[in-house]
């Protein structure tokens, strides 16, 4: 019995891999991969923050997934891999920064230098 929107989203997350596998094939060649570090607590929240920020923005070709760790010592890291293999590693993210990344990087394909891991 679903009591709230959060419970709905949690259930959605449990099914996500299988559904993505079905949809991936459609966009395998031009998918933007958003890899969210799950090393420290709050990884699931960051995934949700991305999904929330993307809602209604027609970003069909973006796949958000959790990974065990990313190659950085910084916290709250997210790696964005373009279809051509180029990648950008963002660190120390919060909700506000995530919203900007969605708008500028995923939406307008403009990397945000000040958030990158140096």
């Amino acid at each position: 019995m679903l009591q709230s929107k959060d419970e709905l989203r949690a259930l959605k997350e449990t099914m996500r891999d299988d559904i993505l596998l079905r949809v991936w094939g459609e966009h395998l060649d031009d998918l933007i991969d958003v890899q969210v570090s799950m090393r420290e607590p709050g990884g699931a929240d960051r995934i949700h923050a991305f999904l929330d920020a993307m809602q209604g923005s027609m970003l069909d070709r973006v796949r958000v997934s959790g990974v065990d760790s990313l190659e950085t010592q910084q916290e709250n890291a997210v790696k964005i891999v373009e279809p051509d293999g180029r990648s950008s590693l963002y660190v120390n993210l919060d909700e506000e920064k995530i919203a900007r990344i969605v708008q500028e990087h995923l939406g307008d394909l403009q990397v945000i230098p000040e958030y990158l891991d140096r």
Binding site: K5, Q55, G56
Partner: protein, 587 residues
């Protein structure tokens, strides 16, 4: 274990009748026997390419196998699943160049399609609410209940420009606003799933492939207008859709998205199913409401409109299945997104059932504004056997024909009406040079006359007389006066019949008279020879025509040219269809 491969098997009515469930069962059994545990097998909704079914799609490889038989499962597993080698012989062959195509999106049939109402058909298991939720399901309902007021929803729906997909084209947001403003201690939401046009199966496919999308939209509508009860009126001839809808409603209750205090809010809503007996007139909303009430399915005059006084005299929204299937996406992605598709007055997409004399038969969803030429020649792949296109009937028995000269007409409510046809619910029957347009008109009139509820005399008596006149003509008993009477009577029925069924029933006659008047004149002047004949130079004496003739008027010896007794021939055309070498000549 995480799944590596997804096997999606079409579970629509067409593919089910072609043994897709057996294909699913064999895949499951053989994968088990071979101890392959990372391959999920799922029966999904209709992929749309019904003429090529049963369809099996392998993801994430994006391989689309067509005309799969149960005995093909072993080869797919051995070759594709285990060795990564595609089974070439099961790929679709492009009729334009003979190339094998593996990816459905490279097929002309899919290239120009854009799926909103059908977006989850062919992707999720319609009998598993979890898969619907995984693919954004009930997200719109959650957002509406927790973040939006009913007026917000109405504003968004009005902004989207969504219009009723059942044929009328009335703005959905406006309809909801009327119902919200109407006073009533009880209000209702009814889903009109009484799809009755010959050849149309859009709504059935949505309910079979994505029933939760309709349930979710009904709940959103209920919240918006202040209703706590929904009713799905569906014809009993749709057993698979009913079965899946029953499962979906039960699961929605179990997960708390139907019932009391949905998502912890004060809003409660539940849905029940009412089976219809398959009367065409019950697609008309007032007749439908009477049928739900247990009365005869007869229409009544409007106003009052159902949004003011509908089921049990209470404010009622009646929306068709396809209309509802758009609602969740609009509220989730915004009206701005929806209005990027379509024309100025017709936004979004429309689903059509493409059938008749066309290479690619199936279910098609295109943005409004797509031209009929694109629909017939690009998506539909043109006319089989190199024959010439003659006309396309849109809007079922209520619509009219559109000919070659109007093929550039964009598909939208206004343009189709201006061309003498109508959007209707989405039936699209293509005809080639062999089709006799007077016979076509007679077929549709036989249908509407049979389906007339009998309440008003213009429809009850008028359609019968029109049908009799068409019979007179085709039996070569009519004359020029018959044509004049036919035209006059059709126009009278249009003006005087009580409901939409009667008012539109003469459309197939009037439009075929307008565009193919010569064919009517030939009949009236008795220039059309009644009997079929056989070209002795082409006939191979296979006897197929003689064996198929219902009146035994074809004779001849095996492997020698046959002949038709013209006095006995009833011109039914059965021999014409049966002949494998095109030796039978039409009258």
């Amino acid at each position: 274990m995480k799944n590596r491969i997804q096997l999606l098997i079409c579970g629509g009515t067409g593919c089910t009748s072609a043994l897709s469930k057996e294909i699913r069962d064999r895949f499951v059994r053989e994968l088990e026997e071979k101890e392959i545990h990372d391959c999920q097998v799922t029966l999904v909704g209709c992929f749309g390419f019904c003429g090529e079914g049963p369809i099996v799609k392998v993801q994430p490889d994006n391989v689309f196998y067509v005309k799969v038989k149960p005995e093909d499962t072993e080869e797919i597993i051995e070759s594709h699943i285990l060795k990564g080698k595609i089974v070439e012989r099961l790929l679709y062959t492009d009729p334009r160049n003979g190339n094998r195509i593996r990816n459905q999106h490279d097929m002309a049939f899919y290239e120009k399609q854009h799926r909103i109402a059908l977006r989850r058909c062919g992707l999720i298991d319609p009998e598993n609410i979890r898969e619907y939720i995984a693919y954004d399901g009930y997200e719109a309902l959650a957002r509406v209940l927790t973040e939006m007021t009913p007026d917000d929803v109405i504003a968004e729906m009005k902004e989207s420009g969504l219009r009723g997909r059942g044929g009328g084209g009335f703005p959905t947001g406006l309809k909801w606003e009327f119902a919200k403003r109407s006073q009533g201690d009880q209000k209702y939401v009814i889903c009109n799933a009484d799809e009755g046009d010959p050849g149309a199966f859009m709504d059935r496919s949505i309910l079979e492939g994505d029933p939760h999308a309709v349930i979710e939209a009904m709940a959103i509508c209920g919240y918006t207008i202040g209703a706590d009860t929904g009713i799905v009126y569906i014809r009993a001839e749709y057993p698979l859709a009913i079965h899946r809808l029953e499962i979906a409603i039960a699961q929605a209750r179990e997960f708390g998205v139907l019932g009391h205090n949905i998502f912890g809010t004060d809003f409660s809503f539940d849905i029940r199913i009412k089976l219809g007996a398959g009367a065409f007139v019950c697609g008309e909303e007032t007749a439908l409401i009477h049928s739900v009430e247990g009365a005869r399915g007869e229409p009544t005059r409007k106003p009052p409109f159902p949004a003011e006084a509908g089921y049990n005299g209470k404010p009622t929204i009646v929306n068709n299945v396809e209309t509802l299937a758009n609602v969740g996406q609009i509220l989730l992605r915004g009206s701005d997104w929806f209005t990027t598709m379509g024309t100025e007055k017709s936004k979004g997409t429309k689903v059509f059932a493409l059938a008749g004399k066309i290479n690619n038969v199936g279910l098609v969803e295109v943005p409004m504004g797509t031209t009929l030429r694109e629909m017939i020649y690009d998506i539909g792949g043109g006319i089989p056997d190199g024959k010439r296109f003659k006309a396309v009937q849109i809007g079922g028995p209520s619509g009219g024909v559109i000919t070659e000269k109007d093929l550039s007409t964009p598909i939208d409510y206004e343009s189709l009406k201006a061309s003498g046809s109508m959007m209707g619910s989405g039936g699209m029957i293509v005809m080639d040079e062999d089709n006799d347009m007077v016979e076509i008109a007679k077929f549709y009139l036989e249908f509407t006359q049979d389906e007339s509820c009998g309440k008003c005399s213009p429809c009850r008596i008028g359609t019968k007389r029109v049908h009799e006149m068409l019979e007179e003509l085709t039996e070569l008993k009519g004359n020029e006066e018959t044509l004049e009477k036919l035209d006059l009577l059709c126009r009278n029925i249009k003006q005087t019949a009580l409901c939409g069924l009667g008012q539109t029933a003469p459309n197939p006659v009037l439009s075929t008279m307008q565009y193919f008047g010569d064919e009517y004149k030939h009949y009236a002047q008795r220039l059309i020879k009644k009997a079929y004949s056989i070209n002795p130079e082409r006939c191979i004496g296979c006897t197929k025509c003689a064996r198929s003739c219902p009146v035994n008027c074809i004779s001849g010896e095996l492997r020698k040219p046959h002949s038709i007794d013209e006095d006995k021939c009833i011109a039914c055309g059965t021999c014409f269809t049966a002949c494998p070498v095109h030796a039978v000549v039409k009258p």
